[in-house]
Every structure is written in structure tokens, then in C-alpha cells.
Symmetry: D2
């Protein structure tokens, strides 16, 4: 059906296009898996940094996209997954409390490791005309890395704030960061040092068509 | 993260695999578009037939998958779209009332016309080991046809109950049916004549690997 | 590996970007299938028209993309498929003789019906910054229609010269054309009436980012 | 068009299904990029090992798939890329000489880093009913890793013979191997220790449908 064009105002109040977007990968997570208990303190620290980064992003009109596993619960929607993770007896509760989504956030349900695999993320980023992704969340060496690799293949610029990602072990965390730095040419840095204002106001590339065109041309 | 394997019981009570599935395409629809008013009586008749077919399917353990447009509302989840369509002043309300999803139904948000384009549908059907799709909903010649074509390319058997699909005009409806019958080798029939019990208990193909393998081999 | 950037001159002499491209779908075809003999005279007429259209396109710097089935011959490349179709005892020879590819043409091997399904076509069109497709070839109601539908979902403008497509039966041809005209808003017209010069010199859309961005925004 | 079914004999003499396949990624490579000269001796050693592994695989009926970049040459086919790399003044010639494809090998042209991204590889492996991939080639930490990650997301078993992959630097090689071992649960081993006979005769998984189904069910 064609009705999707009839009311452009449905999109809400946040800006509908942005050269940069903040991705939060699998942070809405009950941590109920082997290694989850040992990971919890690091995950809480990570969540505090993501929350701070998200506040700065929101103030600048930079959209946040939750890209989250459904953990096999194909029948659940994202709000229900959030509610589940806020139950008192769930290990991940202190992480998720810090990262409860707002009305203006976007959600993408991902069934596998990469946020781009069999999801709407690619189309959403096209719609938002986004060229740069700040990727945060869990785990540095798996879902964050896989999502970053798929963004890189789509000629997007990838920024990974090292204090806003974590993994089951510190070694896996370091390997993931090294990999993104070397193979994906990702900017790996502290969240505090990311100049969000500059990214938010980046002019789009002027020459020869648009975002995708110029990006893909490089490939 | 790997935790998705830790609790297979999360999937609910409905069977997690089925050789056949019922797809309901864009029936959760406010019909607020040009031609929507003229279409309403036909859409209500369609919804009654889909509801009856869905009851029969559910009794036999056949899963229902709502494959629905988000109509540009990237920030909404499916339950919110349902709620919106049940508002008193929404044209599609009498259609949607007949088709309110149950706890055990699956949802797939589709951003474009085909239910397979940039969505999780393909993976969900793999997970369900589904070989045959009964496709219903709106509109016969656009989203239903596009979804049927993508199912056919994936070597699935497509059944289209002609009383469970409709379009903006009767002529477009007929063209869509003709197209699916001839080009997609779809079985176009009345919903009453579909032998759901036989489809539900179909043995999987025995030879040489499984569903996907055998299906794709034919292609 | 990164070396793909080291030598931009490899692309040949034809312009590497064009707002419009000519697609030739499955015309490199041995026609060795039921209905192929009856179809042959129509296919030869079609091939003559495509050849004339391609000459006009080439003169204007509009690229031609052969999007062709491999007919199960995963081990063959496209030139070998062309060679096979030029064998003396192959039914499709008089068709293929009219459409032998040039050095500057592009090839996309498609394993299924749509030229976009599991192929490089989407990336190639991004690279070419193409917004409008002129789709020709075999068969109007199957591979041409499926390819046109996938182009429409990607917000491309679709033009179908009715004398440059054909199908197993005239009825199937007409249904395919009707479908593309109504559901895909395709421009169905005679090849002679397509103003290639205007299309070749179309300015890209100026506003808000580029091709893909603007296109997808409409969706 | 439907003719792809008319002649199953076109596929050649090699078996058309195999539980395991050998992938050779970007080894058909002119090495004409920064770092290519330093890499050459390692690439030649790698090529010798791949060639030996390929001979053992061929003797057991295990198919080889060349998954190769087109390096921006959209108009070239694979055989032409091979020919280019065999020119006297091309740096990669001693590598490519060792790995010239045979009549029975499969080719997949990949436009980006992963062999699965916008290519026919997924469909080809479905057709071959392959569950295990032995991934070889260039570079360990980029195209090999990306391809391995995409295979892992598709629930395939990944084996990486460490002497059959290489990278621009030894450090990048080691990081890539570590990543595949930890995040993808890949079996990283020497090529000599791979028990090809056992892999070639692996029975397919018996339970609940087939390959894809069982694999994806785990996800």
C-alpha cells in the first residue's frame, strides 16, 4: 500500500536527517549468560558513559538508534524486551536502567550478530542520510565489531568510543578494538573526546550526487 | 552476544516450527489514503475471512505472521501501530478490530513493499522451517504481490486465498491475482477450500538435505 | 584487500556515472524451453528494437547493463554463456546475434528472477549514480517485472519500452505491462518515444543529500 | 524465465553437492598496492599451501569456490582478471600462477570485502548444501575475516588453515586469526591437519528439517 506518504508529520519532533547517528548495540540485555556476572561491573560503567554520550547527542539533535537482539523472542517487541530487563531479578537491570529509551529514539530488532543482517537498519540510515556512525554497546569483539564491519562495507565512517563498549573478557575487548582500528579504519577514542557538535553540523559532501553515491564510489 | 541460546523456552507455547505459515500483510492499516474510503467495505469483508482463516490455522498450530508497514513511523513498535488503528476516528478501525494480534503471533515490520525487503522475515521463516506461505492482506497487486514474488524466488510454495486479499480497485485486485497465478505459479483459491490440516501435517521433504537446500536446488 | 582504489583508469572509456542506465534482462538466452519456439519471432523483433535503443544509448554515453540468468551454470562466466547462445544449433541464436555485448557494457549474473536478488546490481547502480532504469528483455511478466519491482522498491524511476520486452505468451506480456504501469508507476511506452538525450543530461536532484537519500526519503 | 531447469546436466562432472567447500578469497590478485611487495614472499608460500590443499580437496570431490574482488573492473569477467594477473609485469603473477582455476571451479565476483555482500555466494552454498567452509586467501584480517563472520552469522562451521591465509603485516595476520578463533569459534589450524576425507563424507544433520533450518534454529 502507498499510504506511507500521506502524513510526513508522523515522524515526531526530532530531526529526520542527521549526518551522524549514535548506535547502542545489545545494551538492552539481561546479561543472563555465562560470563555475564563477571562482566556486570564493566557493563554498568559502560552504560554510564553511553548515557552521558546520548544526552550530549540528544541536545545536538543527533538521533539514537537502539540495535538490539531479540534473543529468540520473535514474538516480543522492543518495549517488552526493555520491560523484561528491568525486572528485579534480572542481572542486567542496573545496565538497562541507565539506558531506557526515549520517545524519540529509533529501534531496530536484529536477529543475528550484525545490526545490518536481515534488518531495517540500512534503510533507516539512508532515510536519515547518515554518513557517520558512533557505535557503542556489547560486545566489542562480536556484535559491535560485526556491525562496524558492515557499516564500513557500506562506506560509512565508524567511530568507536572505547569506554562505551565492553566484552565478556578484557582481552576480547582489546582484540575487538584493535581489529576495528586496523581493518575498519575506525576512529577508536574516548567518548569525551568526540566532537559531537562538529559531526552534527558536518556539511554533506557536495560533489556528484549524494551520500550513498559518493560513499559507494570510493569502494 | 551469544546469550540468545540460553533459554529455548522463551519462544512461548505455540509450536516453533511449521511447514506452513499464514501471512497477514498490511491489514493493520488506518486506510487513511486516497481510495481508502471506497476500499473500506471490501477490506472489512476481507478481514472477516482472514479472521476465520486465522482461527482455523491457530487451532491446527499454524503460526500467523503479521508483516506490516510502519508507514514512516520508524520510532513506533507494532503494538502502538495496532493501538493507533483502533482509535475511534481512524477509517481502518473496523478492519483492524477483526484482526487484533494474539500473544502467540509473530510480527515483522516492513519498511517497503515486500515483506522480505530489509526485514527479518526470511530468517523467521527459516527458523520456523516453513515451506508454504498463505498470503493475505492489502493490496493484492502491490505489497501482497511483491511479498509473494520474493517468496517464490526463495522457492516457497505460495497460496493466495482470493477472498482474503483486496486492492484499491477491483481491477487492480484481479490483475494482481492473475499475475500471481501465472508468473508465480501461486495457488489462487477461496479460503474455505484450503486444506489447512493437510498443509499443517505435511512431511518435510526427505531427500538430500533440508527445506532450503531442496528448495533452492530447484531454482 | 584495499587495492581496488589504486587505478581508477581501469574502468574503460565510457562515463562511470549516468543518471539513466539501460538494462537488458535475460536476452542472452538459448530459448531452449517449452514455448521458446513460438516465442522466437517475437524475441527477434524485440532484439532488433533493443539493439537500436542500445545504439542510441551508447551514442549518448548511457551505460548498458546485461542482467542475465546463468541458467544453473554456476561455473560459466558471461562470455561463455554468450558463446553458447551463438552456437549454430541453439534456438536463441538469431536473438543473441543482435545483442552481442561490447567491451564497455556491464554484466551482472543473476541466479534467480530479479536482477537485484543476490547480485551486485544494487552496488553497481549506486556506483553509477543511476536514478532511472530503462528495463528491456525477457520475460515481461517474470524477470522483467521482478527486476522492475525491486527497482521501484529502491525508489528508482522505471521506464519499460513495450516493444523491447516480450513473454512466453502475448497475454502474459500484456499482464506484465499492466502490472508495471499500475503497481510500479512505470512509464510504459514505445522505445522510439523515449527521450534519451533528456534522460542522459538530467541534473541530479539538488535538495537534501543525494540520489539514494532523496529517493529513499520518499519511501 | 524458467529455462534454468531444463538441463540439469549443464552443471558439469563435479558433484553438485558437498557438506564442505574450499573458499579462495582474493588470491587472484595483482598485489599492486602499498605493502604488496613486502607481502609477496608470504603470499607465494600461502599460494603453495592453498594449491596443495585444493588438490587434496579436488581428489575428494570437494568443490573450490574462488571468491574474488573485481577491483573496480565491473566490465571484466573473472577469466579476464586471471589473465591480467598472469601478465609478465604484474607483481602477483607468481601467486596467481599457482592458483589458476580449473574448469570445475566456481567463481563468485565480490564487489566489497565480504564474499557474501551483494553476491551470489549464499545461494551457491545453499545449492551445494554446504555446511562447512574452509576459508583461505588474502587478507586474514579483512576480506577473509569479513567473509568468515558472514558465514558464522549464517550458522556455518568455519575452518581457517593458518598457513593458507596472509595479510599485509604479520601483526594484522595474527590479529585476524585471534579474532576468528575467539569471536567466530572458527577452527584455526594448519592445512595439513585438516581431515578433508572426514569432512567430505560428513552425514548431513538428520533431525528436524535440513541444513539451513537446523543451522538457523540455533541462532
Amino acid at each position: 500500500m502507498a499510504p506511507r506518504r500521506h502524513n510526513p508529520d508522523l515522524h515526531g519532533n526530532a530531526p529526520d536527517s542527521s549526518p551522524v547517528a549514535l548506535l547502542i548495540v545489545d545494551a538492552i540485555n539481561d546479561l543472563e549468560f555465562p560470563g555475564g556476572a563477571a562482566m556486570l561491573p564493566r557493563a554498568v560503567r559502560m552504560a554510564r558513559r553511553i548515557a552521558a554520550l546520548k544526552r550530549r547527542a540528544t541536545d545536538l539533535g543527533i538521533p539514537t538508534v537502539y540495535v538490539n537482539d531479540n534473543f529468540g523472542r520473535w514474538r516480543s517487541d522492543f518495549r517488552r524486551t526493555v520491560a523484561h530487563c528491568l525486572d528485579d531479578d534480572v542481572r542486567g537491570k542496573p545496565v538497562v536502567e541507565l539506558l531506557v529509551p526515549d520517545e524519540n529514539d529509533y529501534f531496530v530488532l536484529k536477529p543475528k550478530h550484525s545490526g545490518f543482517y536481515n534488518t531495517t537498519l540500512d534503510l533507516l540510515l539512508d532515510y536519515l542520510q547518515t554518513e557517520t556512525l558512533i557505535i557503542t554497546g556489547i560486545a566489542t569483539d562480536v556484535c559491535v565489531l560485526f556491525t562496524a564491519a558492515d557499516a564500513y562495507m557500506r562506506d560509512m565512517t565508524v567511530i568507536v568510543p572505547s569506554d562505551c563498549v565492553t566484552a565478556v573478557t578484557p582481552a576480547a575487548h582489546r582484540t575487538g578494538l584493535a581489529q576495528m582500528r586496523s581493518a575498519l579504519k575506525a576512529k577508536v577514542t574516548s567518548s569525551a573526546s568526540i566532537d559531537l557538535a562538529r559531526l552534527a553540523h558536518a556539511r554533506r559532501r557536495a560533489s556528484g550526487g549524494g551520500k550513498r553515491s559518493s560513499r559507494k564510489r570510493a569502494g
